[in-house]
């Protein structure tokens, strides 16, 4: 349910033919000045921010000259409003207002229908109007098959206190408002105030809109880069995670930061230990968060990999979580009894933890289908990394697991071994490479040909490897592998590493992460010289 700024909401309205004030969104004072001068006359400079009552907060400034608009813009730009810095101001011609009304389209989840709301009074909060002047407001569910027809809109406004001379214009405006919502698949569009100007036009003076995250893919016209509502400006790490999510349709991946500024000792101002959190499934994640909360932990982040994600996705999620500096532990826990086969996740953890060189203790609760194998994988392949990683299953509660992490954190410090990837560490002499859905797999046939047992072939979950002339190769086409027949389950790499010649390297790049890590490292406080 991504929120839009006023100017974006107005663009939606305008595309549906709804009148909006003349104006333009500006990012610099100079641009504001030039727009004001183009518009001529008095303008209003409006901070684009997710808040109400902007006038009272000084976030709207009326300006009689372009110079005044420039000054207003430079005052507004950069101000922080509810965590977000103002990056855009909307410069518009001032409206000559005759009266103010209210109109909105929202989705009524219980009725499973869109609803239109109209009030012949506007300007102030619609809840207040509903209390003080209920006769001014009317609302109606809309039949989604036929939309809002003009006669329905007229009937809607007729039962308010609107003067009947406005009925036809009101109906025309509401029909366009609904059309705007329908065309953009908005979750809500609210116009408050809807203004009748002195020359009789119906103009949207302000607009609050939210759109449906699930449909933005078919609305490039909305220009929404990241369809997600956060309570802070999106961080670099969140952007990196979002790109991973977007480029892999298999299962869910969701990541956001809750503490971007963890002190070096890993304790927040409440004295809680801040940990990386890796949930699985919405309900299970929240249950698990409740669990860790009981043990004096705070979360650096929220993360959810679920819906049968491939090992590669869990791997990337873990690497992103571990890119947060100064966390004191790693806690992964889902609902406890997952339907998905848990060994995929386990392998993702193994690859990530070894590659990064895990520095802090981790508790991984992998309850569900094939959890025994999953726990065994963690135990086997992470035993030597110098910090404890404990795996648990469905019979161990989230609270118990959080308690284990508490104990492990307190039992430290440990001697982490540092990075020790499970991939072929050498430049391959005789590389055999194919693409996977989100990365690539390279077998060094120079090493592979020496191997008698070929454990990788047996371990391959989708059965796409075979031995040919003593080497392991695909038994499907490269295209099929790249389209997803290779499920990136990581089993072959682990098998080759532990039971054969360490000939395989699976490369699963995360766009932007290396640069991000470098930047963090460079900007870390230097010792005073």
């Amino acid at each position: 349910m991504a929120r839009l700024f006023e100017y974006q909401g107005k663009e939606i309205l305008s595309r549906a033919g709804f009148a909006i004030p003349e104006g333009k969104a500006c990012t610099t004072p100079e641009e504001a000045e030039s727009v004001a001068s183009e518009l001529g006359g008095e303008v209003v400079v409006k901070a684009q921010a997710w808040t109400t009552g902007r006038k009272a907060k000084g976030l709207l400034k009326f300006c009689k000259t372009p110079e005044a608009a420039k000054e207003a813009a430079s005052e507004l730009l950069g101000q922080v409003v509810t965590n977000f810095p103002v990056e855009i101001v909307l410069v518009e011609s001032k409206l000559e207002i005759d009266r103010e009304l209210f109109a909105a389209v929202i989705i009524d989840a219980t009725a499973q229908q869109p609803m239109i709301v109209f009030s012949s009074l506007g300007g102030t909060g619609v809840e207040d109007i509903a209390k003080s002047h209920p006769e001014a407001i009317s609302r109606k569910h809309i039949d989604i098959k036929v939309g809002l027809r003009d006669f329905e809109a007229r009937e809607l406004v007729r039962v308010t206190t609107l003067d009947r001379k406005f009925y036809n214009k009101a109906a025309a405006a509401l029909v366009k408002l609904y059309k705007a919502a329908r065309l953009s698949e908005a979750r809500s569009i609210e116009i408050n105030p809807l203004v009748i100007t002195k020359d009789g036009k119906w103009v949207a003076a302000d607009c609050h809109a939210t759109v449906d995250d699930y449909s933005v893919f078919r609305h490039p016209e909305l220009g929404i880069e990241i369809a997600r509502e956060l309570d802070h400006p999106i961080t670099m790490l969140e952007r990196i995670a979002y790109n991973v999510e977007k480029s892999d349709y298999r299962g869910t991946f969701y990541f956001f930061q809750m503490d971007q500024d963890i002190p070096e000792n890993g304790k927040n101002t409440n004295g809680e230990d801040v940990i990386g959190f890796h949930g699985a499934g919405g309900g299970g994640s929240m249950m698990s968060m409740d669990g860790v909360g009981k043990h004096n932990f705070a979360l650096a982040n929220f993360c959810d990999t679920s819906g049968n994600p491939p090992a590669s996705k869990v791997y990337r999620a873990a690497k992103i979580i571990l890119a947060q500096p100064n966390i004191r532990g790693y806690f992964a826990s889902g609902s406890g009894v997952a339907s998905q086969e848990q060994f995929h996740s386990a392998r993702g953890f193994v690859k990530a933890f070894r590659e990064v060189g895990l520095q802090v203790p981790a508790v991984i609760r992998l309850g569900g289908n094939r959890e025994e194998i999953a726990i065994e994988i963690l135990r086997t392949y992470l035993a030597d990394i110098g910090v404890p990683v404990e795996g648990y299953g469905k019979d161990d509660s989230a609270v118990f697991c959080a308690d284990r992490l508490r104990k492990l954190v307190e039992e430290g410090p440990y001697n982490p071994k540092g990075p020790d990837p499970i991939s072929n560490p050498d430049e391959p002499e005789d590389p055999y490479t194919f693409k996977t859905l989100t990365g690539s797999l390279t077998i060094d046939h120079a090493k592979c040909s020496d191997c008698e047992s070929k454990p990788c072939v047996d371990s391959c979950h989708p059965n796409i490897l075979e031995v040919k002339d003593g080497n392991v190769v695909l038994n499907i086409s490269d295209e099929e592998a790249a389209k997803g027949r290779c499920t990136e389950c990581l089993a072959c790499e682990i098998a080759c590493w532990t039971a054969a010649n360490q000939a395989i390297k699976i490369d699963l790049p995360i766009d932007g992460l290396p640069e991000y890590l470098k930047e963090i490292k460079d900007s870390a406080p230097q010792e005073v010289s």
Partner: protein, 305 residues
């Protein structure tokens, strides 16, 4: 008896030839679900796991009508195509849909809801893991494999309805482990508009003679739990309800991965839900791990009456 599905229900899988469709058809048939047809446009004529595949729902309906037609269709379809597949199933006469996919656009869901209403059909989901009527049939992907589903869930007298897919299995498993058997367990789906929210499922449990106690997992956001409380107040639901509401740790306004878990003003808060349910006579469980204990006490008190 049970709700939604039983061993006699005739089930179709839309998208049967896809990755998920194939895997979950195996789960369903191995568990005992009577999967009588699959549909993938352009891939009709073949068989998948001994299930005949058709090109359209109308064809599937037609081909099966002499044996009893199709009662339920389970959709494993990419989200952007769900609307079309769901409308097809509804218009072909299927009365219950299970819409597994995540990220179905909300205006599509409203269109599906509208069509369902006018055809007197119902749908579970979207964004649901499905439902299991224990030892009879699986719809969707609950349990993962037939073996684990058999292992996790034991038959009995308790119905489970949950807004979280993983938690549905968890509660069902923990109840089973504690010796408390189940009728049907049901994941209502994680989206803000779903076809069969808690109140609808609870009503079906009320009408099911085998279900004696209902365990409900709620979350912040939406008004489903408040709706259940209303049914209890109106005495439309009289069976005991054991309820746990998740989301203690959620900050207001922050969005977690369920679209539904948004707190809007005073509505849909955890406290409000607990107050409503408690006021209506539900047994509120504060600690998730206590669900089996409380359920067992409620069952015991029923028996002693």
């Amino acid at each position: 008896m049970s709700i939604l599905v039983n061993e006699n229900s005739r089930v179709c899988v839309q998208g049967i030839t896809g990755r998920e469709g194939l895997t979950r058809t195996r789960l369903m048939t191995e568990y005992g679900t009577s999967v009588v047809a699959g549909v993938t446009p352009g891939k009709g004529g073949q068989e998948v796991l001994d299930v005949p595949v058709y090109d359209t729902m109308f064809e599937a309906m037609d081909a099966t009508k002499n044996d009893g037609g199709i009662d339920i269709s389970v959709l494993f379809i990419p989200a952007p195509l769900v609307k079309s597949a769901a409308l097809e199933a509804i218009e072909a006469g299927v009365k219950l849909l299970v819409i597994v996919p995540d990220r179905v656009p909300i205006w599509d869901v409203m269109e599906i809801a509208d069509a369902a209403k006018s055809h007197e059909a119902a749908f579970l989901g979207p964004n649901t893991l499905g439902a299991v009527t224990v030892d009879q049939a699986v719809l969707g992907m609950m349990g993962g494999t037939a073996a684990s589903a058999k292992d996790f869930f034991k038959p009995g007298k308790v119905g489970v309805t949950s807004r979280s897919g993983g938690i549905t299995s968890s509660i069902a498993y923990y109840l089973s482990r504690a010796g408390i058997g189940l009728t049907t367990i049901c994941h209502v789906g994680g989206d803000s508009i779903i076809g069969l929210p808690h109140p609808e499922i609870v009503k079906r449990f009320e009408d099911d003679p085998e279900t004696e106690v209902i365990v409900l997992f709620g979350e912040i956001g939406t008004s489903q739990e408040e709706g259940v409380a209303e049914l209890m107040v109106k005495k439309e639901v009289t069976k005991p309800i054991v309820a746990y509401i998740g989301g203690k740790g959620a900050k207001e306004g922050t969005r977690f991965s369920h679209a539904g878990t948004i707190i809007e003003g005073g509505k849909g808060t955890r406290d409000g839900k607990i107050r409503a349910l408690k006021g209506a006579g539900a047994y509120i469980v504060e600690d998730f791990d206590d669900i089996p204990k409380v359920t067992s006490e409620v069952l015991a008190s029923l028996e002693s009456n």
